[in-house]
C-alpha cells in the first residue's frame, strides 16, 4: 500500500472535512514508534465512538489503535458485539465476520496477504468480545492457535453478553447474577489465557486497561511475535459499567481494583517469542 492514499489532491482539499485532512497531516502513519503518548498530540484513528459514556472498552480501543506498529498495513477482524459498534468509525481496514468466525476469517486473510504481498509486512489483528472469542467462537479461536496462524487475537472480556441485555458468558465469574442470568453462574470462569498457552500461543497476556502504557507494550509485543513466530493472545478486562451497576466515571476504579485480584497482570512467552521481543527492544521499538 502506498502512503499516497492519504494524500488529498490539492485541488479538492478545500472540500474535505478537517477530520479527514488531519488523517493525512497529523496521524502517525509510518512510524513504528507510535504509541499512547501520541494521543494528546496526533490525530487518532478513532475520532468518536458509539459506545456508552465512560465505557472502558472505548479506552481499550483507543490505546490499541494508538499502539499498532503498522496501522497502514493492519487489517482488523472483528465480530458481533459492543466492539462492532466502533469499527465503522475507525480509519483502518476492518472486516466484520460472522459471530464467532473471526479467527477463521483472520487466518484466511493473513494467508492470502502473505501470497499477495510477499515482500510486505501485513498484520492481522482480531478484536472480539468474550462471547465471540470464548463461547460461540471458541472452536475457531483455538483451531487458529493449533494451526499456528500468525495472527494476534485480542479479547475484550466484560464477563457478560452486555450488548444483548446481560446473559452469562463463559467468562462470567461463578456466582455472578445478571439481568438475564438470575440464578447466578453455576460454573467457573473459563481460564482462556491458560487455554491459549496450552493451544500453542507464543505470547499471552492478561490485564486490565487501567494502564495505557502497559496496554501499548503488550499489544506491540503480541503483534511483533505474531509477525515472526505464531499466534498470540491478549486478554483485556473491559468491564461493562452498566451491567455491573456502575456510573460512567467508575470504570477506571473498577479496573484498578481487579488489577489486584483476578486480572492481575500475567504474561507468558515462549523462548522464541522472547528472542523476538528482545530483538525488537534492541531496535528501540518497545
Amino acid at each position: 500500500m502506498s502512503y499516497n492514499i492519504y494524500e488529498i489532491n490539492e485541488d479538492l482539499k478545500e472540500f474535505i472535512p478537517k477530520e479527514i485532512v488531519d488523517l493525512q497531516e497529523r496521524a502517525t502513519w509510518g512510524n513504528p514508534k507510535r504509541g499512547v503518548m501520541d494521543l494528546p498530540y496526533s490525530k487518532e484513528l478513532v475520532e468518536e465512538h458509539s459506545l456508552c459514556a465512560g465505557c472502558p472498552e472505548s479506552a481499550a480501543l483507543r490505546y490499541i489503535l494508538a499502539s499498532l506498529p503498522n496501522p497502514e498495513d493492519t487489517i482488523i477482524v472483528n465480530s458481533t458485539g459492543c466492539t462492532s459498534l466502533v469499527f465503522p468509525h475507525i480509519a483502518l481496514h476492518t472486516v466484520h465476520s460472522l459471530f464467532g468466525n473471526q479467527n477463521a476469517v483472520a487466518s484466511g486473510i493473513k494467508r492470502v496477504l502473505e501470497i499477495r504481498f510477499p515482500d510486505k509486512v501485513k498484520d492481522v489483528v482480531v478484536l472480539a468480545g468474550d462471547g465471540a472469542t470464548v463461547d460461540i467462537g471458541l472452536d475457531c479461536t483455538l483451531q487458529s492457535f493449533f494451526r499456528q496462524e500468525r495472527i494476534t487475537t485480542i479479547c475484550f472480556d466484560n464477563e457478560v453478553y452486555a450488548n444483548t441485555g446481560g446473559q452469562e458468558s463463559g467468562l462470567t465469574v461463578k456466582g455472578y447474577v445478571f439481568k438475564m442470568a438470575p440464578k447466578g453462574k453455576q460454573f467457573d470462569k473459563v481460564p482462556m489465557w491458560q487455554l491459549a498457552i496450552d493451544s500453542g500461543c507464543h505470547y499471552v497476556a492478561r490485564l486490565t486497561v487501567s494502564s495505557p502504557k502497559r496496554v501499548e507494550q503488550v499489544i506491540k509485543k503480541a503483534i511483533y511475535v505474531a509477525r515472526e513466530v505464531g499466534p498470540t493472545y491478549v486478554h483485556l478486562y473491559t468491564p461493562c459499567i452498566l451491567e455491573i451497576g456502575l456510573n460512567s466515571d467508575d470504570g477506571l476504579e473498577e479496573m484498578r481494583n481487579r488489577d489486584k485480584e483476578r486480572f492481575a497482570f500475567f504474561e507468558y512467552m515462549t523462548p522464541h517469542a522472547e528472542e523476538v521481543i528482545n530483538k525488537v527492544k534492541e531496535e528501540c521499538l518497545l
Binding site: 499516497n4 492514499i5 494524500e7 488529498i8 485541488d11 479538492l12 475507525i90
Partner: protein
C-alpha cells in the same frame, strides 16, 4: 421484477432486471437507450446546467493523489464544477458512519439519499467512486429521489444511473468540459 433470487434481495428496483445493461465500449447510455458518447455528454451537461442544485460527488479515486492521472482528474473535476456551476460534495471514504453523517459536507454510499434530500439536489455526477459502492448508491438514489444521476466511470459504467459514460479518463473529462461550455453558451442564447 422477481421476488425471489438475487434481485429479490434488493429493497430497491434494479435496472439490470428491467433489461437495462451497461453500454458497449465507445457508447453511452441515456436511461435505457444506447447512444453516442457526445450525445450523452450534451444531455448530461444540459441536465447539470438546467436542474436545481447540481452537484459533483467525487470519490476516493479522484480525491486522493494515487497517481498522476488522479491529480489531473482532480483539476478537471474542479474545472467541471466551475463550468457547470456545481457544488462539490466529496465521498472520501465508504465507512457507514450512521448516525454521525453530516449530509451537507459528505455523501455516503450507504445512505446517499440523505445528502440529496438535505441539499435538494436535482442533478449530480458521480466520478471516481469505486464501482461496487457507486452501484449501491445509484440504486438508492434512483429509488428514493428525483435526482438526475450521471455516472462518469473509468470502467464499464453503471446501468442504474440516468446517464452512463464509460471508460472515462482525463481526456474524456476534458471533452466533457468543452461540450458543457458549448451547451452553456447555447442555453444563454434562449
Amino acid at each position: 421484477m422477481a421476488h425471489i433470487g438475487q434481485s429479490g434481495y434488493s429493497p430497491y428496483p434494479v435496472a439490470v432486471y428491467e433489461g437495462i445493461l451497461t453500454p458497449p465500449p465507445g457508447k453511452a447510455l441515456i436511461f435505457n437507450e444506447i447512444v453516442d458518447e457526445d450525445i450523452a455528454m450534451r444531455e448530461a451537461a444540459k441536465a447539470m446546467l438546467t436542474r436545481q442544485n447540481p452537484t459533483i460527488f467525487p470519490g476516493p479515486q479522484v480525491l486522493y493523489a494515487w497517481n498522476e492521472e488522479a491529480k489531473e482528474k482532480a483539476k478537471l473535476v474542479r474545472k467541471m464544477a466551475e463550468v457547470l456551476g456545481a457544488k462539490i460534495i466529496p465521498m472520501y471514504d465508504y465507512r457507514p458512519k450512521y448516525p454521525k453523517i453530516n449530509p451537507s459536507v459528505e455523501i455516503n454510499p450507504n445512505h446517499p439519499n440523505l445528502t440529496i434530500w438535505h441539499n435538494k439536489i436535482k442533478a449530480c455526477i458521480f466520478v471516481g467512486v469505486h464501482c461496487h459502492y457507486a452501484n449501491v448508491a445509484l440504486k438508492i438514489i434512483r429509488a428514493e429521489t428525483d435526482c438526475f444521476t450521471i455516472a462518469m466511470c473509468s470502467m464499464a459504467g453503471h446501468e442504474d444511473a440516468m446517464i452512463t459514460l464509460r471508460d472515462q479518463h482525463a481526456e474524456d473529462m476534458e471533452r466533457f468540459i468543452k461540450i458543457a461550455e458549448e451547451v452553456k453558451r447555447e442555453l444563454k442564447q434562449y
